[in-house]
């Protein structure tokens, strides 16, 4: 980028929030998946600054890649075509929390956990809880339509959006939605922006819907002899009219691998373990927990444990929470996919993915949010072994093919970005791609917003 152009961008945000030393460009070059080569990093603090930046970038045809907390797992915030990284972390004010209208208005750089804590302090609840919620930003959550364990009962980020303020590619400010819970005025542009991975606009304000905070919760941990029995239990619970907050699944490979590393006393003989959590008023929680426990005792269950209070409940989570940390500490590199299928297809996906892993010689454990079929096959890899990575790529294609055959989707919550771009054609046909590209063309005719990602026709090979 020319010095004169950098000077013009610097004028918009000032020298302290305009970075271009090699060190700064390096630090802003990547997410958890891939690395690019930005030419300039800008840290705007207002909508007006974002708008001015985009106006200039649009005029000059400079790529702009918006960046939240960069906790993304698929390369969404990686600036693969150079240009500007637009780091949104300094737009981090909570503008309003209304208990009367049960909504909050926030800037995109607000950390998800901070929103959780702020609204919970006034008895309200914002459910989406992606694993990175202690550091992820609301803006990033919206741009990727983030999910999380408790989305089974409560839905994902998109289900909590009332309206957005988005700066479009040419610098114009678009306002979508309203403060009303019901809103059918025109196209649902809020949902169009949600999950667009920074390719349609830069989110500068988010209005979220809030619900009353559940009074209490109860956790039940059970183990099964076969995958099918675990799967049947999921259907049985939901069939009984109980919608758990979370329904976490851990397979035998996970239990054995974690046990080997951490010695937590996990049941390695079980084919699967389910962690079931129900929440609500004390009375309903008590009753739901009793029904689930009763099912567990009646049908093919190896073992069952119930957390009677929050502390006991938290203890039951240890195998799930600490386990992934153990995996990270013991493996050189791991990739967690998020292939998602209708719940009836979970046994098939789990069995077939293990068959593929054995066939391709890749170490695999499987976790998942079983209630909504959102599986997390976690592959333990050596990134320096190119041959193994190539095998892994072939395995991924096979696994995604099966996922789509099951009526599922490539990604339940991590997004497409760079990572799953090569597999997109398994799920989206020519008409689908044409439609998406038409939308992109209408909103960003010069293609400056987060270029090189899932909509691109030219392949982009990411660096690591």
């Amino acid at each position: 980028m020319k010095r004169s152009l950098i000077r013009r961008f610097r004028k918009i945000v000032g020298p302290e929030r305009c970075l271009h030393s090699p060190e700064d460009l390096y630090a802003y070059s990547h997410d958890c998946y891939a690395r690019g080569n930005p030419e300039l990093v800008l840290l705007p603090r207002t909508r007006e600054e974002v708008s001015s930046i985009l106006k200039l970038a649009h005029k000059e045809g400079i790529p702009v890649t918006p960046r939240g907390a960069a906790t993304s797992l698929s390369g969404m915030t990686t600036p693969v075509r150079g240009g500007i990284v637009l780091a949104m972390n300094q737009m981090n004010r909570i503008l309003e929390v209304s208990t009367e209208d049960r909504l909050a208005v926030v800037e995109p750089g607000v950390v998800t956990l901070r929103l959780h804590q702020t609204v919970e302090s006034v008895g309200l609840f914002y459910p989406p809880d992606p694993a990175s919620y202690s550091i992820s930003f609301i803006g990033g959550n919206v741009a990727t339509n983030a999910g999380g364990p408790r989305c089974l009962k409560y839905g994902v980020t998109r289900d909590y959006l009332l309206g957005l303020e988005v700066v479009l590619a040419d610098g114009e400010v678009l306002r979508t939605g309203s403060r009303a819970v019901k809103d059918v005025t025109g196209y649902d542009l809020t949902r169009l922006m949600c999950g667009s991975e920074g390719t349609l606009g830069v989110i500068t304000q988010v209005t979220v819907r809030l619900i009353p905070k559940p009074e209490t919760k109860r956790t039940i941990l059970t183990t099964y002899r076969t995958l099918e029995e675990a799967s049947e239990m999921v259907s049985r619970i939901i069939g009984a009219g109980i919608l758990p907050t979370t329904l976490e699944f851990m397979d035998q490979a996970y239990l054995r691998t974690v046990e080997e590393i951490m010695h937590l006393g996990l049941p390695t003989e079980a084919a699967a373990m389910l962690l079931i959590e129900v929440d609500g008023f004390e009375e309903t929680v008590e009753r739901q927990a009793r029904i689930v426990e009763d099912f567990c005792r009646r049908f093919h269950v190896l073992d069952v444990a119930v957390g009677r209070d929050p502390e006991e409940s938290d203890r039951l989570w240890i195998g799930r929470r600490i386990g992934t940390v153990g995996l990270m500490r013991s493996s050189k590199f791991m990739i967690s996919h998020d292939a998602t299928v209708p719940t009836s297809q979970i046994p098939r996906l789990v069995t077939e993915t293990h068959r593929l892993a054995a066939e391709y010689g890749i170490k695999l454990v499987i976790l998942g949010h079983a209630g909504d079929g959102n599986m997390h096959p976690i592959f333990l890899l050596d990134p320096d072994n190119e041959e193994e990575m190539a095998r892994f790529h072939r395995l991924s294609r096979e696994m995604f093919r099966i996922t789509v055959e099951c009526g599922g989707t490539l990604s339940g919550e991590h997004g497409i970005g760079l990572e799953k771009r090569p597999f997109l054609n398994l799920q989206v046909d020519a008409v689908g791609m044409r439609t998406m590209r038409a939308i992109k063309k209408a909103l960003d005719p010069k293609g400056i917003l987060n270029p090189g990602k899932f909509l691109d026709e030219e392949p982009t090979s990411p660096g690591r």
Partner: protein
């Protein structure tokens, strides 16, 4: 400082997940990735791989870490960032040398208490001549040249008489107490030359409990500022001098009153071991083994003989980084405080969050340091405590100054001073 492969392997284990950013005080103060835990690790990786050079921005990245270690404790893969940062700092020092002031201090003054004393007296004379802004009455800003370099940060007055001039090298136990044996005190520069009452309070508590207290005269700076600046070569002579000073006395307990000194002697000297041999190696090993924090030491003893004096006070406890994450000390000071009649302990929301002091960091990065300090002050304010207690003179200095700047009326006490108040027979 460390084997290259070991450091590279450690740095490569970072998966850039960013969990550390939720606890990195510097990132939260500046909002710039490059100066936060994740970006710093990444940029250092670039340096180690030869993709980035030792530029002035790189030096800023390296120096803008407090070494509070919060990132390590939140890191899912458990990357020991401190090791990686120290290695990078060591490289910077090896290739570019130390700045003049640091070289003078590390190599000439710190290994020689007499020279250090003279230098401090000279600085102190300048300090007294300067008028003070009213809100910093109790603290003296540095002389103008140094003051300008440190963004107007204040330093406390140098003590009229140093600790070793105030108390003898060997203090007998109180006659009324049951004799318990001998302990030595590692005073550290700050308590020797500045805040002598803290050390005297500790001596008072120990002697009244029946301990004979030794204060070896030939001890020097622990070396923390030197080692943590990456000056391995400067830290080695300090470790040797201290190990020798304490080896002479044949005590198996050396008590520290400063979390940073304690952590340097115990953990920091561990880094030096591969660079030592023979008798010097044995002496440093022995010192490491005998070092203990005063609070943890007292918590492990049958503390009070008879009924201690009742002190009505609402306090909160600040965990120094080098205690809670360095030496693993967290519950011990609290159990001591809770054992004091009349003293009520109220917790902050984040008692273990760094105060932003970071030793020389407060002078080299005044803006960031004050911003982080303000967070701590607001947390203290919210407790409604009338005193904040801690176990590190560096933290005391920082909290005292920022509290004054932010208009918070709070007494800042070392744990030893709080304990002394509860003694039946005051020492002095």
């Amino acid at each position: 400082m460390f084997p290259k492969e070991e450091v590279l392997r450690e740095a490569n284990r970072c998966s850039s997940c960013g969990f550390c950013l939720s606890v990195c005080p510097v990132y939260q103060a500046v909002g710039i990735e490059t100066l936060g835990s994740r970006g710093r690790m990444d940029v250092i990786r670039g340096l180690l791989h030869g993709e980035l050079a030792l530029s002035s921005r790189m030096e800023e990245v390296l120096s803008s870490c407090l070494l509070c270690m919060a990132c390590q404790f939140s890191c899912p893969p458990g990357v020991t960032a401190q090791k990686v940062i120290l290695e990078a700092r060591h490289r910077a020092v090896s290739q570019k040398g130390l700045p003049l002031l640091k070289r003078l201090a590390f190599r000439r003054l710190l290994p020689d208490r007499k020279a250090l004393s003279k230098a401090l007296r000279a600085a102190s004379a300048l300090q007294r001549r300067r008028s003070n802004p009213s809100h910093l009455e109790e603290l003296r800003p540095l002389p103008s040249l140094l003051g300008a370099l440190s963004g107007g940060r204040a330093l406390p007055p140098i003590a009229q008489r140093a600790l070793s001039q105030r108390i003898p090298a060997r203090i007998p136990p109180s006659e009324k107490a049951q004799r318990r044996g001998s302990v030595a005190i590692f005073s550290g520069c700050y308590l020797e030359f500045v805040d002598t009452p803290v050390a005297e309070a500790a001596v008072g508590v120990l002697t009244s409990l029946g301990y004979e207290v030794l204060l070896p005269r030939d001890q020097v700076c622990c070396g923390a500022p030197v080692l943590y600046s990456g000056d391995l070569e400067g830290a080695l002579p300090l470790a040797k001098l201290n190990a020798k000073a304490f080896a002479r006395h044949g005590v198996d307990t050396v008590l520290t009153l400063c979390a940073t000194c304690g952590s340097a002697l115990k953990e920091g000297y561990g880094i030096l071991l591969p660079h030592l041999e023979g008798r010097e190696l044995e002496e440093v090993e022995a010192l490491r083994g005998s070092v203990e924090d005063l609070g943890r030491f007292l918590a492990s003893t049958e503390l009070w003989q008879g009924q201690p004096r009742r002190t009505e006070l609402k306090v909160t406890y600040h965990d120094p980084c080098h205690h809670v994450r360095g030496m693993g000390i967290q519950s011990e000071p609290r159990s001591l405080i809770q054992g004091l009649p009349g003293v009520e302990l109220v917790e902050m929301t984040e008692p273990a969050r760094c105060c932003g002091g970071g030793g020389t960091f407060s002078l080299t990065h005044p803006r960031i340091s004050l911003e982080i300090g303000r967070w701590k002050i607001e947390d203290i304010r919210a407790t409604g405590a009338s005193a904040v207690v801690t176990s590190c003179p560096g933290c005391i200095l920082q909290i005292r100054e920022v509290a004054l700047r932010e208009g918070l009326q709070v007494e800042v006490l070392h744990l030893a001073q709080l304990l002394e108040r509860s003694l039946i027979r005051p020492f002095r």
